[in-house]
Symmetry: C2
Subunit: 212 residues, 2 copies
DNA sequence: GATAGCTTCAGTGTATACATAGAACGCGCA
DNA sequence: TGCGCGTTCTATGTATACACTGAAGCTATC
């Protein structure tokens, strides 16, 4: 593995998991010492992070972790709605029914998904990620998939703001199950509508939990 | 201006204007000599181009200009449809009617737009670009705007494949005028529909001109 | 006492030297 | 003559030294 990849992966996870909160300054010399590589691969990593929107150059001098306000979240969900609705519609036309029917079944088993033995909800998030991947694969559009991938980075980062309780996650799982079922049935209008409903619910819970 | 910006701008325009056709290898040493800067800023420029999708690393060794097949064009237009339809809808809600009415008027004056004294159709493309910018500004969504910006880079690049004759450009201008009018009227359904029609026409002409 | 200018310094921007890996070519053997 | 192995070479990956810009703090003057 290249040193620049290592630096990129380390910084990316640090940002996404809020070990480097918004506003943190990413100084090249400090990072190169902390990560044990020279400034060159660190610079490359910072450039990639800036291109992704996780960091941004500040007044031509220094790079800082980008801020995440509720306005940003609203804008993010507006883009998300456009992309995910279309992706769901296209998956209806091109997807394999059996795959999405299986995902629907697994998503419907809420009790197993949100067991007490999984406080981090890894099982839930992995299954939701599997649905995303299945949709991407069904759509078969590299540009759309790339746009969605760039979007999901930010969504993982704001997951921390959700403070999702088990009740909401169970509700979200059912919403995802509805989407999967609509795709399995090949009903683009329903898939798009279910996606719209799910995203609206998610956004409203996010806004309510962050008093703005 | 930084040397890396200079290298980036030079390579970007070389790729977009097909001086560097798809498949061209972007060798660091050769570029650093040709552009008169060292390898470091050249590397930074190549990283930015790779992030944009204009170039891609080839098997871990060397960077090449990305290929543009008709399949890619189809995928590009699929993403474009999703983004531009939503942008047009949102512009209806948030845009200033006067601005889009003025754009409609200018786009309707096809004769002035496609005069014989402008063989490169600069007047046409600048006005279409102004409509794009007006929509972006009306929507007021940085994430959506960035996604559209990343998309338009590729669109400018495939413009070379269009072989647009005056008849088609006049038609396209009228389609753009229809979109601008729908936004000025605040009719999201019409704006979205007009965008869909326009993109379908554009794509069909592209495919017809490239026999696949 | 306040402001303007200068000095200093920290940190980025660039260049270049060195390490390294992948590929191509050639040679030898079957 | 063809295949396989080894060597060499070219181009990328990394490290580091140097240059330069922008900012902050200090001093001197009004």
């Amino acid at each position: 593995m290249r040193a620049s990849d290592k630096a990129y992966a380390a910084l990316r996870s640090d940002i996404i998991e809020w070990r480097l909160p918004p506003g943190s300054v990413l100084a090249e010399v400090e990072l190169s010492e902390r990560l044990g590589v020279s400034r060159t691969p660190v610079r490359e990593a910072l450039a990639r992070l800036s291109a992704e929107g996780l960091a941004e150059p500040q007044s031509g001098r220094g790079v800082v972790v980008t801020d995440i306000s509720m306005d940003h979240v609203r804008e993010l969900f507006e883009l998300r709605l456009a992309l995910e609705c279309r992706a769901a519609e296209l998956a209806c036309e091109r997807g394999d029914s059996d795959i999405f029917r299986a995902l629907h079944d697994r998503l419907s088993n809420v009790d197993a998904l949100l067991s007490e033995q999984d406080p981090d909800r890894r099982g839930y998030y992995e299954l939701v990620g599997a649905l995303d991947s299945a949709i991407d694969a069904a759509v078969g559009n590299a540009y759309l998939a790339q746009a969605l991938k760039g979007l999901r980075v930010h969504l993982v980062r704001i997951r921390r703001l959700s403070h999702d309780n088990t009740t909401r996650l169970a509700e979200a799982a059912r919403e995802h199950a509805t989407i999967a079922l609509a795709i399995a049935n090949g009903s683009p209008a329903v898939a798009s509508a279910a996606t719209t409903v799910h995203l609206d619910n998610s956004l409203r819970h996010l806004l309510a939990a962050n008093h703005s």
